[in-house]
Amino acid sequence: MPADSMPSGPAGTTGPTGRGGSPSSRPTVEGPALAVLVQRLTLTPPDVLDPGVHVPALVGDAVDLLALSVPGWWQLDAHARTALDRTCGAGAPAASRAGAGIACWLVRTPELTRLPHLREAAPDGPAAWFLAVVEALAHDLAPVRDPQTWISSPEGREEAARAFLRAAGLRPAGESDAVAEDRWSAVSTVEQRRVDREMAEEVRRSEELAKALAAKRAAEAAAQYANY
C-alpha cells in the first residue's frame, strides 16, 4: 500500500540526476550549429586516438586555451586536474582515454571558445563544466559506442556532438531545448538501450501478470465486504 507500506519499494528517482541536476532539466544556452561540431569531429587528428597519447596533456592544453579565450574563465584547480589525471590517465581504459581526448578536441572548437555567453553555460564554474563534458564522453558514451565511430560514422558523429553539447549545457544553434532533447533521444545509444530494456521488462511483466491472474489462487479471490 502506497505510504503505509509498500510490498516492494517504488523505483527511486524518475530520471538521471547528476551534479547540478539533470542536463535535460536545466535551460540551455545556444551553442554552435551541430554541423560545426560534426565537421570538427571529421577533422579529429589521429593522434588523439593514439593509445600512447598523454590525455592529461590534452586536457591541460584545452584548459589553457579556455583560460585565454573566455573572458573571466580561470584555471582548473589542482583537485580537478588530479581527478582528470586519474580518470583519463594512463591507467584508464583505452576507450575512455580516447573519449576524453575527443572531448578536449571539441572543447577547442573556435566557434565554441568564441561564444559570447559560454560562461552562462557553466553556472557551477569551469571545473565542473569541463569535468561534466569529459565525463559525458569518456565515461558515459565511450563504453557504449566505440570512439572511432564518433569520427568515422554519421550516426556516431551526431551522437558524440549532441552528447558533448548536452553535457556542456548548450543546445545546437537553431534548435529549441525541446527539439534538441528529442533529437538527442533519437540518437542516444544509452537512451535506446534504456527504452529497449524497459520494453523488455514490460513484456515480461505482462506475461507475469497474465500468469498470476490466471492462477487458480487468484481466481479464488478474496471475501468481499462491499458491493460496487
Partner: protein, 549 residues
C-alpha cells in the same frame, strides 16, 4: 497466531445437494487454496467457529470458498490504513469550514498546479507524487514520458482520462513494474454495458473496505462489536446464480483501529436470497434468523427483499447498520430500510476498479471517502466543468498497489461542491449512474431522465426501470414503496395482505405523471425486488435512436 490444524483441502459439501444447481457458477469451480492460505492468522478457535458456520444446519448451498488472505505482516499495514482514513475524516470534519488545515496527505505538493482556472483547486500531495511515480514505473505513463506527451511533473489535468476500454485493452500497462505480483487476486467489474474487466486486487486493499465500513458505521453513530453468536457481516445478493461462501474476518480488529477485541475474527458470509440457493425453502429464514448479521452489506433491491422477508416471516433481525452499494438508493427505499430496522443506512458509491469513492448516511449529497481518492468532474470531451455543474465523475486513486489510476472515467455523473481550503468535505450532488438517457416526447422533443427521477421519487416509488421502446411507448417497471403486502420476495410462502395495498395509488400517480410528462402511453408493471434484476440496476434505457449515449 497458529493456523487452523488439519484443515480439509476444500470445505465439505452439505449432503443432498444436486449438481449444477446454479448455472454457470459451478460449485467450487474456483477454489485453489487450503484454509491456512485463506486465513493465515486464524486461530483454532476461529477455525472451529468457521467450521460450525459452514456446517450450520440451515446453511445455504456454499458455492465457493474464499478467505481474506491476510498474513500477519498485512495486519499492521491494514491498521495503518485504517488510522489514515480516520485521521483524514477527523481533519475533514475539523476543517469543514474550509479554512487552513488538512492532513499531510492533503497538503499541495511542490508541483501542484492550480488546474483549470474555473476550478483552481490544487491537488493533494499524494496526487502529484502519483503522477511522478507513474511516469517512472507504470508502462502506460513511461510511454507517455518517452513520447513527450506528459512527464513526471505534468499537472494532473494534462493527462488524458482513462476508460474501462483502456483497462480491458491493456491491463498490464496500468500495473506498476516494481510491485510484487505474488499477492494478486482477481476481481471483476462489469459495468452496465459491455464485457467485464479484470481488476487486479491486493488482499490489504480489499480488507481496507472493512476499515472504511468501520469508520462509516462509527461516524453514523452505531457500534459494531463482534458477537459470538452473530455474523459480523453478511454480503447479500438476490439473483439467479451467485458465489456464496463463509469466511472469517481476521482483519476485523486491525480494520477497526482497535488493538484486539475479545473475539478475534468475527465471521461473515455471502448469501443469496434466491430460493434456489438453499437446500430447503425454510432454511433461508432459519439461517438469517439464527445468524442475525450485524452489518447488512448489499444493494437496494436485495435489502428491500430482506426487509420484506423479515416483516413477513418475523426474522427479528437487529443489524447495527445497513450498507447499500452498486445501485442508486432512492429516498423511499432508504426510508423503507430505516423503517424496517431503525439503524443507519449507508449508501456507498464506488467501482471495483477504484474502490469506494463516496458515501452518505442520509438523502443528502455524497461525501468523498477519506481515502486517497481525488474526484474531478469533466465534460464528455474531457475538459473540466466549473464546480457545481454536472459532468462525468473522473477518479484518481492510489490505494491499490496493483492498479493506481489517474483520471479514470467512471461513466457516472454528478456535480461537485468543494470546500474553500484544503481539508473539508468534498460533496457529490445529484450522483447518477451511467450515461444519461433521454426520452422522446410525442411531439418530438427530447426530455432528460432527471425529470423522470423527480416524478418517480415524488410518487414514492422505491425502485424502477424506465424504458422507451423503439416505437416510443414507455414501459415502467416499479417496485412500489409499499411494505410486503403487495410485493412478496421470490417464491417464498405466504403472500400477506391483498395485492396492491398501498402500492396502487403510488404507482397510478407515477404513471399518470409520466404520461403527462412524455405525452405518451405508459405501460406499467409492478414487480418484486427479486425480479427487477441484480447488480447495478439500469434505471433508464431506450431503444429510440439517439436516446441513449
Amino acid at each position: 497466531m497458529t493456523p487452523a490444524p488439519d484443515s480439509p483441502r476444500s470445505p465439505d459439501l452439505p449432503h443432498g445437494v444436486p449438481d449444477a444447481l446454479l448455472g454457470e457458477y459451478a460449485p467450487f469451480g474456483n477454489v485453489a487454496l487450503d484454509d491456512t492460505e485463506r486465513w493465515p492468522t486464524l486461530t483454532p478457535d476461529g477455525a472451529a467457529r468457521l467450521d460450525a458456520l459452514r456446517h450450520h444446519p440451515a446453511a445455504p448451498v456454499w458455492v465457493h470458498a474464499t478467505g481474506d488472505r491476510l498474513t500477519a505482516d498485512d495486519l499492521p499495514v491494514l491498521a495503518a490504513t485504517a488510522r489514515r482514513f480516520a485521521e483524514r475524516a477527523a481533519e475533514r470534519e475539523r476543517d469543514g469550514t474550509g479554512d487552513a488545515g488538512g492532513t499531510d496527505d492533503d497538503r499541495t505538493g511542490p508541483g501542484a498546479e492550480a488546474g483549470h482556472p474555473a476550478t483552481a483547486h490544487p491537488v493533494p500531495a499524494w496526487v502529484t507524487d502519483l503522477v511522478e511515480r507513474a511516469h517512472a514505473v507504470v508502462p502506460r505513463y513511461r510511454r507517455a514520458r518517452d513520447q513527450r506527451r506528459s512527464h513526471a511533473r505534468s499537472p494532473l489535468d494534462a493527462l488524458p482520462p482513462v476508460t474501462r476500454d483502456d483497462l480491458r485493452a491493456d491491463l498490464a500497462s496500468f500495473v506498476p513494474v516494481d510491485v510484487d505480483l505474488s499477492r494478486i487476486i482477481e476481481g471483476t467489474s462489469s459495468g452496465s454495458t459491455g464485457a467485464a474487466v479484470v481488476v487486479p486486487l491486493h488482499p490489504v486493499a480489499v480488507a481496507a473496505d472493512l476499515a472504511l465500513l468501520h469508520l462509516l458505521v462509527r461516524d453514523a453513530g452505531a457500534t459494531w462489536t463482534p458477537h459470538e453468536d452473530r455474523l459480523g457481516l453478511v454480503n447479500l445478493v438476490d439473483q439467479r446464480a451467485a458465489f456464496t461462501y463463509a469466511s472469517a474476518m481476521t482483519g476485523f480488529d486491525a480494520a477497526s483501529g482497535r488493538a484486539t477485541s475479545d473475539l478475534s475474527a468475527p465471521l461473515m458470509a455471502r448469501v443469496n436470497l434466491d430460493p434456489g440457493a438453499w437446500r430447503d425453502p425454510a432454511d433461508r429464514s432459519t439461517f438469517l434468523r439464527g445468524t442475525d448479521p450485524q452489518v447488512l452489506s448489499s444493494s437496494p433491491l436485495p435489502l428491500l427483499a430482506l426487509a420484506d422477508l423479515d416483516a413477513r416471516e418475523g426474522l427479528g433481525l437487529h443489524p447495527v447498520a445497513v450498507v447499500s452499494g452498486a445501485a442508486h438508493l432512492t429516498p423511499p427505499a432508504r426510508a423503507r430500510l430505516r423503517a424496517a430496522w431503525d439503524v443507519p443506512v449507508i449508501d456507498l458509491y464506488g467501482l471495483r476498479e477504484t474502490g469506494a469513492v463516496a458515501s452518505r448516511a442520509d438523502d443528502g449529497p455524497f461525501v468523498v471517502a477519506p481515502r486517497r481518492v481525488w474526484v474531478e468532474i469533466l465534460s464528455d470531451d474531457g475538459t473540466p466543468v466549473p464546480d457545481g455543474s454536472p459532468g462525468e465523475v473522473v477518479v484518481t486513486t492510489d490505494e491499490n498497489p496493483y492498479l493506481p489510476l489517474l483520471r479514470y472515467r467512471t461513466g457516472d455523473r454528478a456535480r461537485i461542491v468543494r470546500p474553500r481550503g484544503p481539508g473539508g468535505r468534498v460533496e457529490l450532488h445529484d450522483l447518477e449512474g451511467r450515461s444519461p438517457v433521454r426520452y422522446r416526447h410525442a411531439d418530438g422533443r427530447w426530455l432528460g431522465s432527471v425529470d423522470a427521477t423527480q416524478v418517480l421519487q415524488a410518487a414514492g416509488i422505491a425502485a424502477w426501470q424506465l424504458h422507451q421502446r423503439a416505437d416510443g411507448t414507455i414501459e415502467l417497471t416499479v417496485v412500489p414503496d409499499a411494505p410486503a403486502g403487495g410485493a412478496p420476495s421470490g417464491r417464498g410462502p405466504g403472500r400477506a395482505g391483498a395485492p396492491g395495498t398501498g402500492a396502487a395509488p403510488a404507482t397510478d400517480s407515477a404513471a399518470r405523471a409520466l404520461r403527462q410528462w412524455i405525452g405518451r402511453d405508459v405501460v406499467v408493471t409492478v414487480t418484486t425486488p427479486a425480479r427487477l434484476g441484480h447488480g447495478r440496476v439500469r434505471r433508464y434505457s431506450s431503444d429510440v435512436p439517439g436516446g441513449q449515449a
